[in-house]
Symmetry: C2
Subunit: 338 residues, 2 copies
DNA sequence: ATCAAAAATACAATCGATTGTATTTTTGAT
DNA sequence: ATCAAAAATACAATCGATTGTATTTTTGAT
């Protein structure tokens, strides 16, 4: 019961060599069809299941790719994962999904485990705490191909698939300006992550275009959880002048702010218009529905996987880092419709 | 670059035997401390990383458990996964997360891959399509311990960690009755899944308690996606008599119904009061907020993992299937507050 | 029927780590 | 200094599958 059948059990049962069994199970042309049939039948009878540990060890390769995301429960990341899985399964690869929960320590541990399991490659979106790249450089020196999506680090020779976050931040801010907002707050995340730096850059760029002075006190940095949104809103309300617009670098913090503001009797969008980022499903149903920036998660997953698989199957001398930049799109909803 | 360092490389560099290197890296008391220090230093210098494929193959065990859920993006399942990961990491196990996307074929493939990778055990919540248990029986015969959570099948000798769904369905329905509803619709899922059968049973039980006649046409079966909720609501509205309450076996379908009903000018909860199931985050922010049944996902994950680990480390003769049943709790919100 | 070529199968080494047993080295009591 | 016991290290087999090479069997032309 406990001891699984091996090719040797099949070989013994048929008085045949294990190498022939192995070749038969891999449908090698070197084995006679009749023999193959007998072996397959016996394998079935004994409930044989290939031991991938042994197979991968011998072949010195695995058909598994690892995926590291901050949180699987975020809609954006689960769409990316769906895209990854589709592209990977089509190519005959398995996928191991891991979440760092935004913690650097967990990210390090996960990278270690994936390397120890000799995955063929890794797709990752770094945690908010990732300000130290040793574990990633280690993976690079180790020769394991990997690729960033959405949240990347600047590491020589490593490709990434990104959203044009400057454009996204610009679009969000310009949209508020065109709706008549003059004093626009911004929730940003850790500046180590270029997505947040870029969304902020887009915000500033839009202000400049419309000649609205940039006031640093309107930019609030946090880890963008729901509670951070509520606190950010409180901070903005305490300013000596009124704000009439808010661009949050994610939907969750925008929603935290909305709940707080509604509770304070502030009318959205009339008193303050709001735009989020990521198009979480929750943004559609909250009242008022939240204007946001949609990111093509599924497509990001597919493209990232294809690029990674190319890298895996590429000769090491032809490697050249690519940056693939996709467009996001603004979805106008009630939180900014006035 | 491509060829990873092995214990033999370290052994050769120090003119020492590989077995000593192995023991040193595993901190065996049989190796002199000075030798350990030298080995560790050299291992670090060469960027050594244990090959788990080889190690697990030799030891004939892995410290990895597989988790199969229908969808990682469902809040309930991602909370369960958090609970699993916490309990597993505490015990020194790694977790492989897989999603069946409610498809039997994918569930089968995943089970196959996990078995081929020789996971120590599997935690699973079956897909809506799972009406055939061959792949699970195969896993059982194979000797791989596994355990169901939330959505289970009746398989002799396999434990499960469940919610008292009859009670949950009863609570939801009774709540509507106490709010004055006389004609209550119910959205149910595939009857192969006992969670849906039980929630329906709870619904019927509550009707009986309050002497409300059970009308089969008020029970609509579907796969409970958002679109199914909208269609179900349409069907209920087309009945020759009015309904004034709706209990949906999940939140997503309840939300689909709410959107449709609001669009039709039906007032919630005044015309129709609604209760969902699972306490998805979205249920809190939709307008009106959705009354629902909260399931202790994190706790389910922790308990399931502890039980599975017990099973893994148990002698095979002492196995006895357990059913652990946890309580759910009703969260009253505006969709039923009148 | 014979025999070279082709087809089928067997032999043996290997992937990297682990572990029981054997051997060598060190320790410390006399 | 000697020697048995203890400590440290080396040897060798093994986990299960794969694969290059060697050997055996089959095929089919003469």
């Amino acid at each position: 019961m406990k001891n699984k059948t091996t090719i040797h059990d099949i070989a013994k049962a048929l008085s045949i060599d294990a190498s022939t069994v192995s070749r038969a199970l891999n449908n090698s042309p070197r084995v006679n069809q009749k023999t193959k049939d007998r072996i397959l039948a016996k394998a079935n009878e004994l409930g044989y299941q290939r031991n991938l540990l042994a197979s991968n060890l011998r072949k010195n390769e695995t058909n598994t790719i690892g995926v590291i995301v901050p949180r699987i429960s975020r809609h954006f990341f689960s769409s990316v994962i769906s895209g990854i899985e589709e592209a990977a399964y089509d190519a005959g690869y398995n996928v191991i999904i891991c979440q760092s929960l935004e913690q650097l320590k967990r990210e390090r541990d996960i990278v270690g485990t994936l390397l120890a399991n000799r995955v063929a490659g890794v797709l990752l979106s770094v945690s908010m705490e990732t300000n130290d790249y040793d574990h990633l450089l280690n993976m690079k020196n180790n020769g394991t191909p990997f690729l960033f999506f959405d949240r990347h680090c600047d590491i020589e020779g490593i490709s990434s698939v990104l959203i044009d976050d400057v454009q996204g931040g610009f679009d969000a801010t310009e949209h508020l300006i065109l709706k008549g907002c003059k004093s626009i707050g911004h929730f940003s995340g850790p500046q180590e992550l270029s997505i947040y730096k870029n969304r902020l850059a887009g915000y500033i760029k839009a202000l400049e275009k419309y000649k609205i002075p940039y006031r640093p006190e309107l930019v609030i940095r946090s880890s963008l959880m729901e509670i951070d949104g509520a606190e950010g809103a409180k901070t903005l309300l305490s300013l000596p002048y009124k704000i009439d617009g808010l661009f949050s670098a994610n939907d969750i913090a925008a929603i935290g702010a909305m709940k707080y503001l509604k509770n304070e009797g502030i009318r959205i969008p009339y008193d303050i218009a709001i735009v989020g980022f990521s198009n979480e499903p929750i943004s559609e149903v909250i009242d008022p529905s939240l204007t946001t920036i949609d990111q093509p998660g599924f497509q990001i997953g597919q493209i990232s996987t294809k690029l990674l698989l190319e890298e895996i199957n590429k000769s090491s001398n032809s490697k050249k880092a690519k940056k693939t930049i996709l467009k996001s799109s603004l979805i106008e909803r009630d939180s900014s419709r006035k």
